[in-house]
């Protein structure tokens, strides 16, 4: 049907596969935390202090089970009643029943109420945290990617002293675990020289608002977290780009371009475009691990973001929170990968040629 539009067909096919992947991922994200035998209500009970009689503990436990939709309930409002079996024990909802409720709520844009951050809504937690995570990670990753690749390509092309200095440096950076690097930044630039603050997303005495004050404070707090990721990422990207570049330099088209006497920048542009393809896939992958990476940054710099929310949710079997955060991660990873897939389709002549052949059939 879409044979005359191979590109559109390619995009739709890919999109279809990504949608199926999405459904599978959501289902796995739902069931995975429930596989552990630990009941989230037990955790809450554990924190609710001592001195409760057995009867009080039972009443409290039932209240939470009901609140979190883990037992069957009849009626509504103040007349809600827990459905009980013949022994008077509350009837638990099955995983599948919870899944159906969850999907129904998701379609209405409701991700539920967090167990641990009760009575906060999961959507609110995500809304508060995601802007910080995105504002730190996206520019860092993109800048690191661009700077790393440009420097890597230059190192490959120029060789000589630039490469001899740059390559070991980049190799060293990329091999550095970035939490160690982050701690070193704090040690030198925050504790030692007092140039930048050691922690937080903005100064404690500033009110978050659209004011110069807030933005300058946020920018000041942005520097160390930014560099903790940026430098290491750029180092890693540069290494990859340099190897790809050296490989491409030996290819016939570059030699031919040089023989033709093309300008250096033109040859470098050819080189860049071809060596870049695997690097683009790498970019999509680094966007995918963004939230996990954010956690480390958040811990080192007490920076706001989604990573910590996810960690505490997982530690506490906070089902709605885990589901909500993994939904965001799944969606962003899939979107990033899908975009790269489509981009590669346009950028890689081989993929493009494949599409053209498809057209011929």
């Amino acid at each position: 049907m879409l044979k005359q539009y191979p590109t559109l067909r390619f995009i739709l096919m890919r999109g279809g596969w990504y949608f199926i992947t999405f459904l599978v991922a959501v289902t796995i994200n739902f069931y995975l935390p429930r596989l552990g035998k630990h009941n989230p209500v037990d955790i809450i009970m554990g924190k609710s202090g001592s001195g409760m009689s057995t009867e009080d503990a039972r009443i409290k436990e039932e209240m939470y089970l009901q609140e979190f939709g883990l037992v069957k309930v009849s009626g509504s409002g103040a007349t809600r009643e827990i459905v009980r079996d013949s022994e008077g024990k509350p009837v638990r909802t099955t995983g599948f029943e919870q899944f159906v409720t969850y999907i129904g709520m998701c379609l209405k844009g409701d991700l539920g109420t967090s167990f641990q951050k009760y009575p906060k809504k999961v959507v609110d937690v995500i809304k508060e945290a995601v802007p910080w995570t995105l504002a730190l990670q996206i520019p860092t990753i993109i800048c690191g990617w661009i700077v790393g690749n440009v420097l890597g390509a230059m190192a490959a092309y120029r060789r000589g002293i630039f490469d001899k200095v740059f390559f070991p440096f980049a190799l060293g950076l990329s091999a550095f675990p970035f939490f160690v690097f982050g701690m070193l930044l704090v040690y030198f630039f925050a504790v030692g020289f007092h140039w930048f603050p050691a922690m937080g997303g903005y100064a404690n005495n500033v009110i978050p608002s659209f004011s110069f004050e807030f933005f300058s404070s946020a920018a000041h707090h942005y520097v160390l977290p930014f560099f903790s990721i940026f430098l290491i990422l750029a180092g890693g990207q540069a290494i990859g780009m340099r190897s790809m570049g050296i490989y491409e330099l030996g290819t016939d088209y570059i030699k031919y371009a040089k023989w033709l006497g093309l300008k250096e920048s033109k040859v470098l542009a050819y080189l860049f475009r071809n060596a870049m393809l695997p690097q683009i896939t790498g970019l999509a992958l680094s966007l995918g691990v963004m939230i996990g990476g954010a956690l480390i940054t958040e811990m080192i710099f007490s920076y706001p973001g989604l990573g910590m929310a996810m960690l505490t949710a997982i530690q506490n079997n906070d089902y709605p929170m885990i589901q909500g955060v993994t939904l965001i991660i799944t969606t962003s990873v899939l979107i990033a990968n899908f975009t790269v897939d489509v981009l590669i389709g346009f950028l890689d002549p081989r993929v493009k040629a494949g599409l053209q052949i498809g057209k011929g059939n």
Partner: protein, 600 residues
């Protein structure tokens, strides 16, 4: 060309960076000036979820959680230094085995101008009669009813009648009076009736917009990074309790850090004025102005003891000889020196501290006669006498243990929350000395989720816990109750939730059951004669040392009270003990706020 554009990018980047660092250092004073702001930390770790005083303690954000009295206030406060009760919303008149009498302060007012009345007190103390699942529902098990009578000065006299049919425990009523904060009945009754008398609907409200409070501060604003309180100009207590003086700081900010190191950095940089977090080797931070109650070791005042709770239903832990051998094997001095930076004096056997308010109940004679101290040879002897055998590897390290019938014993695990570094350090050192004495245990770090959910049903071999961690009027009774009471005894596993004695010590109905434990636990709160009380405590501590149901590891302070005098001075210390060593947000230490002075 490529190079020049690269250079441009770098130049622009450098310029932006320069701008940012200038902007950051110059700006930021407008919101909350440093000279008017007190920075306190260590009580709020995650996002603030709600400021509703009717939710469970751990669910609410600072300062509505725990026992903090900056927004909502209790009737009285307890001075953990001298054991005296100090007036707040009320004044303690008397307490005896039948009743506790408190006069409401006639000047006490809510921030909306309404007076504090017996209706407010009854609302929160008697909420359990209306909603059995309310956070303070437990109060009715102790207080049968609250009788109110008008006094000539316009105030009210409240008589808390001891619930003899239920818990019969006036001691815990005193605990409640200093811990349960009074909430405005007129506000919450209206919220309840607006929500169809559904408590869980009211619990979902965040109560973060102009809450009606009695305390000296109120919520100004909050984000996930910090909570800001503002001084109330019309606080009723300024005139009545502080001779017309206002608290010194206009704002109190609680920054929320995600990393323990940040408290130390902030204190050293003067960005934080006080914190209650564990900082190892505090003497190294002295040069940067970090101070503590005592200038030298032990730096802090002991108030609590972290302990190993033992699952006494599981072999070989069900054998008291084995437990006593464990207690003799552990090197407490190592734990004190290496894990908690010498922040306490030497541990004595038993569950009663040999100092402070508990000293009068401590018997050195009994400790020497019935208790065990660190003595690896004694540990080996107790094990050998009881028939246990430690099998060693070729290199002399422990391989496994055999019981008296020659059966191999499983390796025991000490459960501890992964990442709680000071706790893990204590457990690791305990593990080391236990293994050296031939006892097969290993540290078992687990996720916080597993940790919290395992206590109640007793799903552990040994678990590290800090019970009765606040210094309250009911200590040391509260500590004994937490580890020895069989009031709610249930077998291990399933839905069998026990909130005290989670190690299932002293199972009723078995030949080893010692009924005197429960009768002493029941009797102590009603004994008013000091000599009788000391004798009862002696007896209980003797049983504890004989049976060793849990193993205390060291003494620790109730709070790691550490402060910096860079911005604010006149903090209480051992030289100037005008308030207990607690941050100025709880108990009798809130008065620090009226005593602080600007350092410059």
């Amino acid at each position: 060309m490529m190079r020049s554009s690269c250079l441009k990018v770098l130049a622009v980047g450098a310029l932006l960076l320069g701008l940012v660092s200038c902007g950051g250092s110059s700006g930021g004073e407008a919101g909350f000036p440093r000279s008017k702001t007190l920075y306190l930390a260590g009580s709020q770790w995650g996002d603030p979820n709600t400021f509703n005083p009717l939710v469970e303690n751990w669910q609410a954000a600072w300062p509505v959680n725990d026992r903090f009295n900056l927004m909502y206030e209790p009737l009285i406060t307890y001075n953990s230094l001298n054991g005296k009760f100090e007036p707040l919303l009320g004044t303690l008149v008397s307490s005896d085995p039948d009743k506790v009498v408190v006069d409401i302060n006639p000047a006490a007012k809510w921030s909306d101008g309404q007076p504090v009345t017996s209706a407010d007190v009854k609302f929160v103390f008697e909420i359990g009669r209306r909603f059995r699942n309310a956070a303070t529902a437990f109060a009715i098990d102790f207080t049968k009813e609250i009788l109110a009578e008008k006094l000539e000065n316009g105030g009210e006299r409240l008589t808390f009648v001891v619930n003899k049919e239920s818990r019969n425990n006036p001691l815990v009523i005193l605990d409640h009076l200093q811990a349960i904060r009074i909430v405005p009945a007129h506000v919450f009754e209206k919220l309840l009736s607006d929500n169809g008398n559904d408590l869980s609907a009211v619990q979902k409200l965040k109560i973060d917009k102009d809450p009606v409070v009695t305390g000296p501060y109120n919520l100004e604003n909050y984000t996930n990074e910090r909570i800001v309180l503002k001084r109330r100009a019309d606080y009723w207590g300024n005139d009545v309790l502080y001779g017309g003086k206002e608290p010194a700081p206009e704002f109190i900010i609680h920054p929320i850090y995600k990393n323990n190191d940040h408290f130390a950095i902030a204190l050293q940089q003067g960005k934080l004025d006080a914190s209650q977090t564990f900082m190892p080797r505090i003497w190294l931070k002295k040069k940067d102005g970090v101070k503590t109650w005592y200038d030298d070791a032990p730096y802090f005042v002991p108030g609590t003891m972290p302990l190993l709770v033992i699952n006494t239903t599981k072999a070989p832990l069900n054998d008291k000889n084995f437990r006593r051998a464990m207690a003799a094997a552990i090197n407490y001095n190592d734990i004190k020196e290496l894990a908690v930076s010498n922040y306490a004096s030497d541990l004595e056997p038993g569950l009663i501290m040999n100092q402070g308010l508990e000293k009068k109940f401590f018997s050195a004679e009994d400790a020497a006669e019935f208790g065990v101290k660190h003595d690896p040879e004694l540990a080996k002897k107790i094990l050998a006498d009881a028939g246990y055998k430690s099998v060693l590897k070729a290199d002399g390290t422990l391989d496994h243990m055999l019981d008296k019938n020659g059966n191999r014993l499983p390796t025991l695990s000490i459960m501890v929350p992964a990442g709680w570094s000071d706790w893990e350090a204590m457990v690791k050192l305990a593990e080391k000395s236990l293994r050296a004495a031939g006892i097969d245990v290993r540290e078992g770090p687990v996720d916080a989720g597993i940790y919290w959910s395992s206590h109640g049903p007793g799903n552990f071999d040994i678990v590290m816990r800090k019970l009765a961690e606040n210094v309250t009027p009911s200590l040391p009774w509260g500590r004994f109750e937490a580890v020895m009471s069989t009031r709610n005894w249930l077998p291990v596993g399933g839905d069998n939730w026990m909130s005290e004695n989670q190690g299932r010590y002293n199972q009723p109905g078995t030949p080893e059951y010692r009924p005197e434990v429960d009768s002493l636990l029941k009797a102590i709160p009603t004994i008013s004669d000091e000599a009788q009380l000391a004798a009862a405590y002696r007896e209980l501590n003797k049983i504890f040392m004989q049976d060793q149901p849990v193993i205390p590891l060291c003494y620790l302070p109730e709070q790691f009270y550490q402060f910096s005098a860079k911005q604010w001075k006149n903090w209480p210390t051992s030289d100037n003990p005008y308030a207990p060593p607690l941050l100025p947000w709880v108990g009798a230490s809130t008065k620090i706020l009226w005593n602080l002075q600007l350092a410059k």
